[in-house]
């Protein structure tokens, strides 16, 4: 590239100082050192536009409609509003590509993706965007198709963009975490791959996200950030290795355990005995994970593992932040039938959402508008006291169906007791 064409970037240059790795230095390497002149010119142009944004404190990208043949979404189209000044990056679309659950790669595969991307795109990539996709940032409308065709042949598919089922995410999970109570891989792939049509062809009222965490530490932020949150848990007794408890106390002291473990338990279900053993009232343990986090070697989840499912989490737009609400307090996920039930529940919920949500309304907002009970009746799930923090406090409600509803409760209880 002709050096005289380089856009000066005095403000961006400041971001090359300091000890943290600089994305600006990365851009400049692509501008100055990449063998492909197309990339040099694209990145030079992009840096020019970004510098212009820094100077004027405004963004200059607008959306549009770009997809690949056969799909309706998965691309974030970007057309420059200042293309006259920065023409080489006038089209700078992002491809969203679904990673594996837990974001695992071989270096060979990453190199292969890098080769394809520098052939067809800008050579700039993010692992991963906030929805969980690999973000291949910056290519033209034509090359979007070529790049997708190439990587689709070796196992990669587009994620969601727009009002559709979105790319799902899982924590590191059972592959490298002793707290995991679930097979995050199987859950994510059973769920999101059942709805590939809904991922690729946006036709829902608004976005619908699955996120999976292996335990209630919820490293995947699923309660706050997904419409359908699956979190591993257990329902038998937590495991206590009393020898390790003693070893922990020998190392950290009794006071540390009193101050940082037993007294921090939200339900006061733990007692430190005089003989340095730990007693747990498991019937009052809410599986918050705190004590397991602190005494990681001594305390572990039980063996009767399963998942809790919460529905309706989302961020501010439009009615304010919502956490997911418990809809399934516990569900086993061991057999093929268990997974079928999980997928059926997701199908019921997505169908109900598709039919009943308003345009641009998330699942949680729909539940807020119609009430949890109407939602539960719509998807065929019975009420459960685990779904609420406390029962109703307002008396302004019509309850002439009380006897019938109480009867249902006793009937369900009898059914459960009969096994």
């Amino acid at each position: 590239m002709d050096k005289s064409k380089i856009h000066p970037t005095p403000m961006l240059d400041v971001l090359e100082d300091g000890p943290w790795p600089s994305f600006i230095s990365g851009f400049k390497r692509m501008r100055d050192e990449h063998p492909d002149n197309r990339i040099n010119e694209t990145i030079n142009s992009l840096l020019g536009q970004l510098e212009h944004s820094y100077e004027t404190r405004k963004g200059y990208w607008k959306g549009g409609t770009v997809s690949v043949f056969g799909y309706g979404g998965g691309i974030i189209p970007r057309f420059s509003e200042v293309a006259k000044a920065f023409p080489e990056s006038k089209e700078f679309h992002t491809l969203r590509v679904q990673p594996t659950p837990g974001n695992y790669y071989t270096t060979d595969m990453l190199n292969q993706l890098a080769n394809s991307w520098e052939k067809w795109g800008s050579g700039m990539v993010t692992f991963h965007g906030q929805t969980g996709n690999i973000m291949f940032i910056g290519t033209t409308t034509d090359n979007t198709q070529h790049f997708f065709d190439e990587i689709n042949e070796y196992g990669w598919d587009l994620g969601g963009a727009g009002p559709c089922v979105r790319t799902a995410m899982s924590c590191v999970g059972a592959a490298r975490c002793e707290q995991s109570c679930a097979n995050e891989h199987a859950i994510q792939r059973h769920l999101v791959n059942t709805f590939t049509d809904d991922v690729h062809r946006p036709a829902l009222p608004y976005k619908f996200k699955f996120k999976i965490s292996g335990c209630p530490n919820d490293c995947q932020n699923s309660i706050e950030r997904s419409d359908f949150s699956v979190i591993g848990t257990w329902r038998d007794e937590m495991k206590v290795d009393q020898a390790e408890v003693k070893a922990f106390i020998a190392k950290k002291g009794r006071d540390y355990v009193l101050d940082n473990v037993t007294s921090r338990c939200p339900t006061n279900c733990m007692t430190l005995n005089d003989d340095d053993t730990l007693a747990v009232d498991n019937s009052n343990c809410v599986r918050c994970m705190h004590c397991l986090n602190v005494m990681n070697k001594a305390l572990s989840p039980g063996d009767d593992k399963g998942v809790t499912i919460l529905i309706g989490g989302k961020r501010t737009l439009k009615i304010g932040d919502l956490m997911g609400t418990v809809v399934v307090p516990f569900m086993k996920l061991d057999t093929a039938e268990d997974y079928e039930k999980l997928v059926e529940l997701a199908s019921e919920i997505i169908d109900f959402f598709a039919e009943n949500a308003l345009e641009h309304e998330r699942t949680g907002e729909m539940i807020e508008r119609i009430g949890l009970v109407n939602f539960l009746e719509g998807i065929g799930v019975e009420v459960d006291p685990n779904m609420v923090s406390n029962p109703r406090q307002s008396s302004y409600v019509r309850m002439d169906g009380w006897d019938e509803e109480a009867e249902k409760w006793f009937a369900r209880k009898a059914e459960q007791a009969a096994g």
Binding site: P19, L110, G129, H185, E224, R315, H360
Partner: protein, 357 residues
């Protein structure tokens, strides 16, 4: 034309086991416990007794292919050819031999990346696209994060916080960055400026009217053209109308500010998950280094580090000391804007005599 096009293979989410380190495959679901041998390094021990060391590495998040290949080369030379990314865009390498840990760390640091981000550190800031790629951003994301991580790097590399600190940034009030112990988010302060000449051609007006959270937008004829008008007394300056209607420009060089929120915590540990709460606003959106925002974040971190007990996240710490003391120790002003008036706000009011003196 269409029959010449290649049909996609709708393979969806790929199987991760093919890309997983063999020690992870061998011990899938069979891990026993983990330890923190040093900041940036995790040691996981399986029921079988097998040990796996993880080295976590901070990057610039937006990677050029040269940087990506530097990272994969490190993976080839020192970590058996496998790597993964955390949800905060750190790279993690794993090795089964303790002797390989230090050479791996040396290679990462030698290449200019940063080892850290484990346990009670300040983790890598999770962020969004900003001016680089978003169509509605009020600020940049990568720049804010680079500038802040330069200042917080020692906290990333150490285990000196009472518990982990997750910081997030967002370039508009949609808040793609998500909840954080500390969140630095764009906060608009003026209603949108409408280009009435463009509205009719660019915007689907009923959808824009429906998008407004406070019903402040209505259809109107302006200069003889169908357009939209905003009741500026009702407008909360959220910017929700801007994405579906770009002629309703919400971003402004001066009036687009930053706000700082604290106490978002996604974990169920101890208490239930919490949303972040407003602590500071009116912070200048000041590229290229946003020093005012960084100064407030550092001030909050300093007090949290000094005042919180072990294992308290920022929300736990403030729950214990109370909000009045939080504002006292951080020196941040408490204003009328801190008192919520949104749906459900009553639950945030103090209906008791629980007052600390």
């Amino acid at each position: 034309m269409a029959q010449d096009m290649r049909h996609p293979i709708e393979s969806g989410c790929p199987d991760g086991f093919q890309y997983m380190h063999p020690a992870m495959r061998r011990n899938y679901g069979q891990w026993k416990y983990h330890e923190h041998p040093r900041p940036g390094v995790l040691l996981h021990v399986a029921n079988s007794g097998e040990k796996l060391w993880t080295v976590k590495c901070g990057t610039q998040r937006i990677l050029d292919v040269f940087s990506l290949r530097t990272l994969t080369k490190i993976g080839d030379d020192f970590a058996d050819g496998y790597m993964r990314f955390t949800i905060r865009s750190n790279v993690e390498y794993v090795v089964t031999d303790e002797a390989k840990v230090q050479p791996l760390i040396d290679a990462i640091e030698g290449a200019g990346f940063i080892v850290g981000g484990t346990a009670n550190s300040v983790a890598m800031i999770s962020h969004t696209q900003g001016w680089l790629h978003c169509d509605i951003p009020g600020t940049d994301a990568s720049g804010v994060v680079k500038a802040m991580m330069d200042e917080l790097i020692d906290e990333f590399k150490g285990h000196n916080m009472p518990n982990r600190v997750h910081i997030t940034t967002s370039c508009c009030q949609i808040n793609c960055g998500g909840q954080g112990d500390i969140a630095i988010n764009v906060q608009h302060t003026k209603p949108p400026k409408i280009n009435h000449d463009l509205v009719a051609n660019v915007c689907e007006r009923p959808s824009v009217v429906a998008r407004c959270p406070v019903a402040a937008i209505r259809p109107a004829m302006v200069n003889g053209k169908p357009s939209l008008e905003v009741d500026e007394k009702k407008c909360i300056c959220c910017g929700a109308c801007f994405p579906p209607c770009p002629p309703m420009q919400i971003n402004d060089a001066e009036d687009t500010k930053l706000a700082i929120w604290v106490g978002g915590n996604h974990s169920n540990a101890r208490g239930k998950p919490t949303f972040q709460k407003l602590v500071a606003a009116g912070v200048p959106n000041n590229p290229p280094r946003w020093p005012e925002a960084t100064a407030i974040v550092k001030r909050i971190l300093k007090e949290y580090k000094a005042g919180a007990k072990d294992w308290e996240r920022i929300n736990d710490w403030i729950d214990r000391i109370g909000w009045p003391r939080f504002f006292e120790v951080t020196g941040l002003p408490f204003t009328k804007y801190h008192i919520d008036n949104w749906t459900g706000a009553r639950a945030s009011l103090n209906a008791s005599t629980h007052i600390r003196f």
